[in-house]
Amino acid sequence: MFGRYELGFSYADPEIRIQLTDNEGRVKYERECAGKTESRYLGRTFSAIHVHPVEPVNLPEALTNFLELSFPPLLLSPGSSQIIYLKFPVETGVFLESGEKRDLLDIFSLAPVKFSLYGSPSSGVITRWYYSDLYMDIPVTDKRREGVMTLLLKNSGTETATISRAVFDGASMCIFYGERVAMTATMEIHSPSIAHTTFSDTAPADCPNRAIDLYLSRAFSITTGKGYFMEAGTI
């Protein structure tokens, strides 16, 4: 489903239908997903569309930049590190190609949406919350619905850390797609209450294609990109 498509493109499965038709010069984009439809006419300047996984923090409306993955508690001894795999929700973005420019046309998703609060109401952040089981090998996923995050946990503190959630900044996410949708991240635990999450921009072997960064396509100036400091604990 992900990739670059030109006029006449059509994709359909039992849950998603995307169509780009040219009817006597009128280019029409149509999408149907989970019972919701989107239909728009496009100007002649657009030559193709790109369908890519995007940062999963946009639906049903942009309330937050943060993704929180919750998982069964894992204990990590001081100085140790471990790689775990988590599932994350996938949102699919449709971009219009106009020369070198990529403009966002549509976002849809099959994954359920739930929000949460990380930290206190006065100093915390709203997060897109998602529960994943904890995997030691890459789990099988439906890439239209879920991606797989490779998360390297490093306990650089002096105490045994209990980790049951990780919060990530959407502005620094690097999403890749191929056989699956993937992200690679690191979570460094400094103490039971402080951890730092960052993303790697190295593509996994089975996911060689870098997805379009939604934040870049929106021409946001990214001043952060240094990950997120979790200062309200890892449990």
Binding site: P60, E61, L63, T64, S70, P112, V113, K114, F115, S116, L117, Y118, P121, S122, G124, V125, I126, W129, T223
Partner: protein
């Protein structure tokens, strides 16, 4: 000559000061095209300087200050620069001494201060609001009986648009001296709802049904978790109180009505589907000559049959 010298002068001496001021007749004779040119050049330079400084401040401070704070700050800088430019160029045109300028300035400030105390207090309150920033443009606030979205925060007043579209203009000193509730100061806010069910309904079942709706509702936060509990056993019903947290920047949290129309109908529908109903107000009326056993046989009948 300083201020003290001026105020200690005798009237004739003070009259002499007037001679240092150029008369109307002499004004056009003494003001050269060069002076006027310098005046306008100074104003233009101050204006351009103000624009450049404002631009730099916006670029460098936009992540630290809110838009309305930046507007006020850059506005003050530009006005100060213009005043400085006028202060530098005017003495040359009018051929006034610095002492006279200062005296005139003090007099003008004193007159303005006395005649427009309210304006000054609004301005001072505006600067205080700018410094403390209890709210910003776009926030939903309640103050002095008015609730609405802040449209703009200015030096003298705050403009609010109420949920029914009314434009409200509130002087800054009024806002500064009263309580302000800002619904968007924190990232999440809690709502409380009350639902009454009949005495004969299963309370635990109702709690489970409502809990499931809250759990599935996208915008009710997972953490802090929503809660449902019996808060009151009133005359006509068992009252269940629902507490749920929502993101403050969600559009439906702009006012309580929007959120209620979204949540409460779902709860009512789900409870009714499970056979749990909202009770009617009931009163048991006893007659003075009523047999004592009547109460035992009819205690579970509707009130109408008891009255027959």
């Amino acid at each position: 000559m300083n201020f003290f010298d001026f105020f200690n002068m005798t009237m004739p001496e003070a009259a002499d000061i007037g001679s240092t001021v150029t008369s109307d007749r002499d004004f056009f004779a003494t003001v050269s095209p060069r002076d006027i040119f310098i005046f306008f050049v100074a104003i233009i330079i101050a204006y351009i300087l103000g624009v450049i400084i404002s631009h730099h401040i916006r670029v460098r401070m936009s992540h630290r200050l809110k838009k309305d704070q930046l507007d006020i700050l850059t506005g003050i800088i530009r006005v100060v620069l213009i005043i400085i430019a006028i202060g530098i160029s005017i003495p040359g045109i009018l051929d006034l001494s610095v002492t006279i300028i200062l005296i005139a300035l003090v007099a003008v400030i004193a007159i303005i201060g006395v005649s427009s105390q309210k304006v000054i207090s609004n301005m001072v309150a505006g600067l205080a609001l700018l410094y403390e920033s209890p709210f910003a443009t776009g926030d939903f606030i309640s103050t002095g009986g008015v609730s609405g979205t802040v449209v703009s925060v200015r030096l003298f007043s705050v403009r609010i648009r109420t949920t029914d579209g009314i434009y409200v203009h509130i002087p800054n000193d009024q806002i500064y001296s009263t309580t302000v509730s800002n619904c968007h100061a924190n990232v999440a806010r809690r709502y409380v709802y009350s639902v009454g069910i009949r005495y004969q309904d299963d309370v635990k079942k109702a709690v489970v049904i409502i809990g499931k709706i809250l759990e599935e509702y996208t915008f009710i936060l997972k953490n802090p978790a929503p809660s449902v509990f019996v808060s009151d056993i009133s005359a006509d019903s068992v009252i269940l109180t629902i507490r749920a947290w929502f993101p403050s920047n969600w559009k439906l949290t702009r006012d309580d009505i929007s959120l209620s129309t979204e949540i409460l109908p779902q709860i009512k529908e789900a409870l009714e589907a499970a056979g749990i109903e909202m009770p009617y107000a009931q009163r048991v009326v006893w007659f003075a000559n009523q047999p004592t056993h009547f109460a035992d046989t009819t205690s579970r009948q509707p009130s109408e049959s008891r009255l027959k």
